[in-house]
Point group: D2
C-alpha cells in the first residue's frame, strides 16, 4: 500500500494547514507525518505531509487534479509523490571511487528507495565496479573540446532511462549551464570541503595550506555557479598538524561518503524543499 | 500579543491533525509552528502546535474549556500554554558553581523565557553569586538526618514562589520520592556522563578508570530512579590518554553547561513531551 | 628502506628518553617520530619512537639484541617493529557485512599496511564477498556444542597463515577464554554502542528503549570479559525521537565502519600501547 | 618547584632529540613531557619538552645561556619558559560580553596559569564586569580618527603592566599593523565562523544567507591580514533551517567561548608553535 507525500511552499496565510489536513481527512486519509516551517523573513510557508492511501477515497490518478484547486487558491508551489513509485537515479563517477562504492553498497542494502540503472564515467576503469553490482555502464570520456557533444549524449541517455536524480560521486567534471538547466534541483554533488570555504579545485590542498583544524564535506544541489548551490548536508572532522595531506584526504573521504549518501536519501524520501538557494530539510 | 501552544499526546487515529487545525482556523488563529510525530510501535500521536492569538475569536480564558471537548473526543493528554505567561524557575546549586553561573548569565542575556526568583543551596558560599544577580538566596544545609524536614521547607518555598521548573545545577543531593512526586517532569538535572554509562557517583572518575575515549553530559527529568529519568539532551567530547582526571572534569564542565541550558530552554519553550520514560523534542 | 618502531613501557625514571635517543643517534639513526607519555598516578613511562634505518650502524637482525641491554636496565616492556614487515590480518565476519566490505575496500585502497589472506565466517554467504576481493574464505559454522572444536580449527588456520591481527567485523560469536588467550591485544572487536553503555546483546534496541539522544560505536581489544577490553576508538552521532530502531542501526553502521577501521590502522601502525585495561594511542 | 619548558623549531637533522634530552639528563633533569613533530615537506623539526628542575644542576638563571650553545649548533628558533613564571594577560572587550565573562569565570576557577591585571574596552559598560572580578578597567573609546593615538596609549598601558598575551574577547575593533607588530604571536582573537569561511563582518549573517548546515568558531593569532592569522582552535555545531539568525548567534556563542578559552590555555601552557602561518599544537 502506497503513501502520498506533498511538498508545498507558498506565501503564508491563515488556514493553509487546516485546509490541507481537512482535504486529507475528509477523503479518509491517515496522516503519518506532517511537518511545517514558516520563514518569517519572507513570510513563506513550507510543508511536508505524508498520508496513507489505504481506503483513501480519491483514486491515486485523480489526487493531483483534486488537490490542484486547493493549491491554486493558496498559490502553492507543490509536488506530489507516491511511495510506491520508485524513481531512477544515475551515478556519474571518476577514478576516485570511494563514494561510488559506498552508494552501491548502500543501494544493495536497500538504504535507497530508488533504482540505479546507469553509471556514467569518463574513466573506463569504473566499468568493473558497475559490473560487480550488475549496473549498466557507459564510458563517455569528456574533454573541453567535446564536452557539449558528450553532454547531449548524456542527456539523451538519462532521459531514455527516465532518470530523476543525478548523483555526482566525485565526478570532477564541470557541467555546462545548458546541462544543469535540464535537471534543476535534481543533481546532487559532493564537495570535499565545508563550503563556502575551499570551493573549486583541490580543497584538501587548500585546507592543508591554510592550516585549519577541522575539515568538512558538503552535499548540495548543482546550480550554474560552481559549488554554490543549495546545501543539503555538511559534516566536519578534527585534524591536527600531524595530519599530512594524504591523511586529510583519507579522513575526508569518510565524511564525503556519509554526507553524499544522506543527501541522496533525503532527496529520495522527498524531504527536501529548495528555496532562495537554501534547503528546508524535513528530517 | 501572545501565542498559544498546545502539547498533545493520544492514541493515533484519523482526523486528529485536521480537527485540531480546523479548531484553530475556524476561530481565526494563524498557525506559526506545527510539528507532529507518531510512534508506530505504540500507535501514539504527539503534537506541538503554536498559533497567534491576534484576532483569535475565543478569549484566552475560554480556550481551555473550548478545546477540552475535542481533547476528550480523542482521549488526549494535553497542556495549553500562553507565551505571555512567564513561568518561574528555581535553581538548586552546590559549591560546584559553573552551571549556576552559566544559567544566570544566559538568564541575564534573556536566553530563558522565565523568571528566576530563587536559588537554594546547602552551601552558604553560593549566596554571593545570587546577590550579584539580584536573586533571593536560601541556605538550607541538608544532612541525611534532616533531609525530610528540609525538603518540606523547600516544597513550601517553591510553592510560595509559584515555581514551575526546578533546575538542579550540579546540586549533588538526592531527593526523596515524596519530593520528586510533587514536581513530575518539572525537575531538570544535569548528570556529568553520557547516561546510561556512569550513572551515580563520580562519573568522571568512572570514565577515567574505564579508559573511554569520549566523555559526555546528559540533562534529564528527575524520576524516582536515580539518573534514569527521560533524557532531554546529551553531548559528548573526545578525550585521550593525555587527559588527567582534572582535564576530564574541565572539558566535561563545558558540556554540562550547554547540555543543561539547552534542556531548560526546550522546557520553557514548551518543546518537550514526556512519554514512556523518553522525550519527544519538537526543536 | 625500512623504519624501526619501538613501543615501550616501564617505570618512570630519569634518563630514559635520553638513553633511548642516544642509542639511536650514536648508531646513526634519524628519529622521524617520537612521542612519550607519563602516567603520574602509576609512575609509568610510555614511548613510541620511530627512526629511519638508512645508514643505521646496527644490522636489522641485531637491533633487538643490542637494545635489550638498555631495555633490561630500565625494566621495559617493549616491542620492536620494522615498517617493511607487513603483518597478516584475518577477518571474522557474519551476515552483517557492512564492516567487512568497508575493511576490504580500504584494504584495496591500501589504507592498511597488512595482508589479509583469510576471512572466516559461520555464514557461507560471505564467501562471495571474499571471492570478489580474491581472499581465501573458510566457512566454519559454530554452535554452542561444537565451539571448542571449531575454535581449535580456527587457531590452527590462523597460526598456519601466520596471522598477527584478528579483526572481528561484527562477528557476533563469543570466543572462549582459551581462544582469547592465544591472541592477547591482537583481537580487535567493534561493539555497536558507546561502551560501557549497552554492552552485550542488541545495543541498538537497548539504546532505543532507553531513549538516548546520542548513539555510538566502540572498537576495543578483546579480553575475557565481554565488551570490557581496552578501548581503542569511539565515536558518536546524534539521534532524535524521529529515529526508528532501523534508523539507529543505519546511522550506527556508519560509526561502526570508521571506528573499526581506525582501530585497525592504529594497531598496524604500531601506535597502541595497552596497560591497565586502557590504551595509550600515539596518534 | 618549577618545571622548564623548551619550544624549539629548526631544520631537521640527526641527533637533535638525542642531544636535547642528553643535555637535560646529564644535568639531572627529569623529563615529564616530550613531543616532537617533523614537517617532511619543509624538513622542519619541532619540539616541546618539559622537565622538572628539582635537583637540576644548572641554576635557572643560567639555563638559557647554557642551552644556547646547543641551540646555535642546530640553528634553533627557541623559547624557554618556567612554569613558576606567571605571565600577565590583558583582555580587550566590547559590549558583546559572553566571552569576557567566560574567560573571567575560568580565570577565577584557576583554569588559566596567568594573571589578568587589565581589561580595556571602548565601552564603559564593561567596567562593571571588571569591577565584579576585581580587575583594573580602562575605557578607551576608539574612532577611525583617534585610533593611532588610542593605540599608543594602549601599547603604553600594556607594556607598563608587563602584558605578554592580549586576548581579544569579541573586541570588534581592527588594530593597525604597527600595533600588531608589537605583539607577534601574542594576540589571540576569536572569530565567529569556521575560517576561512565568512571572514570579516557579520559572519552569522553571512552563514544564514548562505544556508550552511554547520556553523563554527575559530581562535587564531592576529596578523596584519584580517582573520587570516595562524589558526589555533576551531569547533563547529549543527544548525537547521529552523534556526533563525538569533539562534545562530546564540549557538555560536557557546562555540566562541570554548574555542577562545582553549586557545588561551594552550598559549599559556606553552603548547603552541607558530610557523608558516600555521600552528603546531602539542596537546
Amino acid at each position: 500500500m502506497s503513501n502520498a507525500i506533498l511538498l508545498i511552499s507558498c506565501p503564508d496565510q491563515k488556514g493553509i494547514t487546516s485546509q490541507i489536513t481537512s482535504f486529507i481527512f475528509q477523503n479518509n486519509g491517515n496522516i503519518e507525518h506532517a511537518d511545517q516551517h514558516i520563514d518569517f523573513q519572507t513570510n513563506t510557508f513550507f510543508m511536508r505531509i505524508e498520508w496513507s492511501l489505504k481506503n483513501f477515497k480519491i483514486p491515486e490518478k485523480d489526487i493531483r487534479k483534486r488537490f490542484s484547486m486547493l493549491a491554486n487558491q493558496f498559490k502553492m508551489s507543490w509536488t506530489l509523490h507516491f511511495t510506491k513509485d520508485i524513481p531512477s537515479a544515475a551515478i556519474f563517477a571518476s577514478h576516485s571511487t570511494h563514494c561510488l562504492y559506498d552508494l552501491l553498497l548502500r543501494y544493495k542494502e536497500t538504504q535507497f528507495k530508488c533504482e540505479i540503472p546507469l553509471i556514467i564515467s569518463n574513466h573506463s576503469s569504473v566499468s568493473k565496479i558497475a559490473k560487480t553490482f550488475g549496473i549498466k555502464f557507459i564510458h563517455l570520456p569528456k574533454t573541453p573540446k567535446n564536452k557539449k557533444t558528450i553532454e547531449k549524449k548524456e542527456i539523451a541517455l538519462l532521459k531514455d532511462a527516465n532518470i530523476e536524480l543525478i548523483i555526482l560521486a566525485r565526478y570532477m567534471q564541470i557541467f555546462t549551464n545548458s546541462f544543469i538547466k535540464e535537471f534543476p534541483s535534481r543533481m546532487i554533488n559532493i564537495h570535499h570541503s565545508f563550503l563556502p570555504a575551499f570551493a573549486g579545485k583541490n580543497p584538501y590542498q587548500q585546507a592543508y595550506s591554510r592550516g585549519v583544524k577541522i575539515i568538512g564535506a558538503t552535499s548540495h544541489y548543482v546550480t550554474k555557479e560552481l559549488d554554490a548551490g543549495p546545501i543539503i548536508k555538511q559534516d566536519t572532522t578534527r585534524i591536527s598538524h600531524r595530519d599530512s595531506l594524504s591523511d586529510l584526504k583519507r579522513k575526508g573521504q569518510d565524511l564525503e561518503k556519509t554526507v553524499l549518501s544522506r543527501a541522496v536519501r533525503l532527496h529520495l524520501e522527498r524531504k527536501i524543499l529548495v528555496y532562495n538557494n537554501k534547503t528546508v530539510i524535513f528530517d
